[in-house]
């Protein structure tokens, strides 16, 4: 039996946060292949395999920051959840914001969960591990929609 490694797309404009998450995923029980983009417009290009992303693998999970340059995380989420080809991909919002309105509006737009970035290293690592265990190790994920 051939198993492909789970593909995760991280969308975050802060390289320090990306590194922390990559580091934490490397310590997680389920091995993953990680790609990163640093703004919302790039995220859409990646998902539609446009330009330099023509060889991109459709992710099994997207970790999406909210406050992003160019196309905002909220707009990326709204866009993804309104497109039949993308709406099945689980999107976890991973943002500094703990504001009630950000949480509510993310779920309203169809986010699959909302995790606020933890303040300390150990909490960060354990949050990412939990996400890895649940989404990759535990949840049954959808198949890619044929276009």
């Amino acid at each position: 039996m051939v198993t492909t490694m789970a593909e995760i797309l991280l969308v975050d404009d802060n390289p320090a946060d990306l590194d922390l998450t990559i580091d934490a995923l490397a310590q997680s029980p389920w091995r993953t292949h990680v790609s990163t983009v640093s703004d919302g417009a790039e995220a859409m290009a990646y998902l539609y395999r446009e330009g330099k992303y023509s060889e991109a693998i459709r992710p099994h999970l997207v970790l999406l920051d909210l406050n992003l340059p160019r196309k905002d995380g909220r707009a990326v989420l709204a866009d993804m959840k309104s497109k039949p080809a993308l709406r099945r991909i689980p999107v976890v919002i991973f943002s500094t914001s703990q504001a009630r309105k950000d949480i509510e509006s993310s779920y309203e737009l169809g986010a699959n969960s909302y995790v606020s970035k933890p303040p300390t290293l150990s909490e960060w690592v354990s949050a990412v591990k939990v996400l890895n265990e649940f989404w990759i190790g535990c949840a049954c994920l959808p198949r890619e929609v044929e276009s």
Binding site: N14, A16, D17, L20, D23, T96, S97, A99, K117, P119, T120, L121, S122, W124
Partner: protein, 396 residues
Amino acid sequence: MNTTATRTARETEPSHALKPRLRVLLVEDDPADRDLILSELNKGEFEIHSDAAVTADEFRQRIRANCPDVVLADYNLGQWRGTDALEIMREEGLDIPLILVSGALGDVTAVECIKQGVTDYVLKDSLGRLPMALRGALKDKSAREERNRAEESLAQKVEELARSNADLEQFAYVASHDLQEPLRMVAAYTQLLAERYRGKLDEQADKYINYAVEGAVRMQSLIQDLLAFSRVGRQEIGVKSTDCNEIVERTIENLQGTILESGAVVTHGPLPRLMVRGLQLQQVFQHLIGNALKFRGPQTPAIQIAATKEGAEWTFTVADNGIGISPEYAESVFIIFNRLHTRTEYPGNGVGLAICKKIVQQHGGRIRALPRDGGGTIFNFTWPAEELAEGRGPAW
């Protein structure tokens, strides 16, 4: 004109040259009476500029056109009454003193007139009293204007203050949100350094990294607290009738760990049912009882909570036998980030009492720290007893 001549004129008749102008609107249907009144007025200390009206319509028209300093009106004007002029002025948004100049008025009528807002009344057979009535009316008018100005400026200040408070809150909220991200980077990466490079550099390096970690973690907790402080009153949830006994018992449950560990005895008398917004009153008790446990003295902590009703408000007291607060700090303990001890003596950021004060003040109450006889502290705070409608409350 020759200035010397003018000065001489003033010296001989000083009052004439210095007479202040006074615009008078006479409302009188009898021409003879009007002349009498006018001649009496001209004898006085004012340079009179008079205007006249007979009917109510005329009065309205004249008052709009000239806005006099004072209105002199007869009581009985045939079709209408002098007191009706008051209503007309109110309709026109004018606040001009009105003196009734009339024949004999019964006591009851006179009192009624004053009640309606007439400044004074002068009987036609004693017009000599007119100048005095005028002086009184003008004094009354300037007092009224002064009061209006003061009220306006007060309202303006209240509005400015509300705006600046809102700005400040918005600032604290935004700042604490935006500060969190870079700070988290510092905290996380110094922690990563500490974790991965401990013992690989030298002892000094380990110490420096620890200082950086501690500093970042403390800053994070300060910002969290600042955020909590700025959030007070931002929760847009309605008020609900709540049993304070339940609130206090829930608080005691929350603090069970410290209570068991210290052997503290926390008791409370019968407490009222009050209108409370969300968890705000519980937050107040949480901080006050929490402080009483934290700042305990050598003996077993004993904490008593009680409430008494005085007029329209309840006064709550939280009394402890702890280390006490010396009177000179009784006010500054409520200032945010103000602490009386080092962090090694007692942990904390100095935010709890600031939050308590903000919550209590937002409900129109006051909070104080008083020394307790025999050692310890009594915190007392007031809370309105009024029954607000459920789900509603002051908009803040």
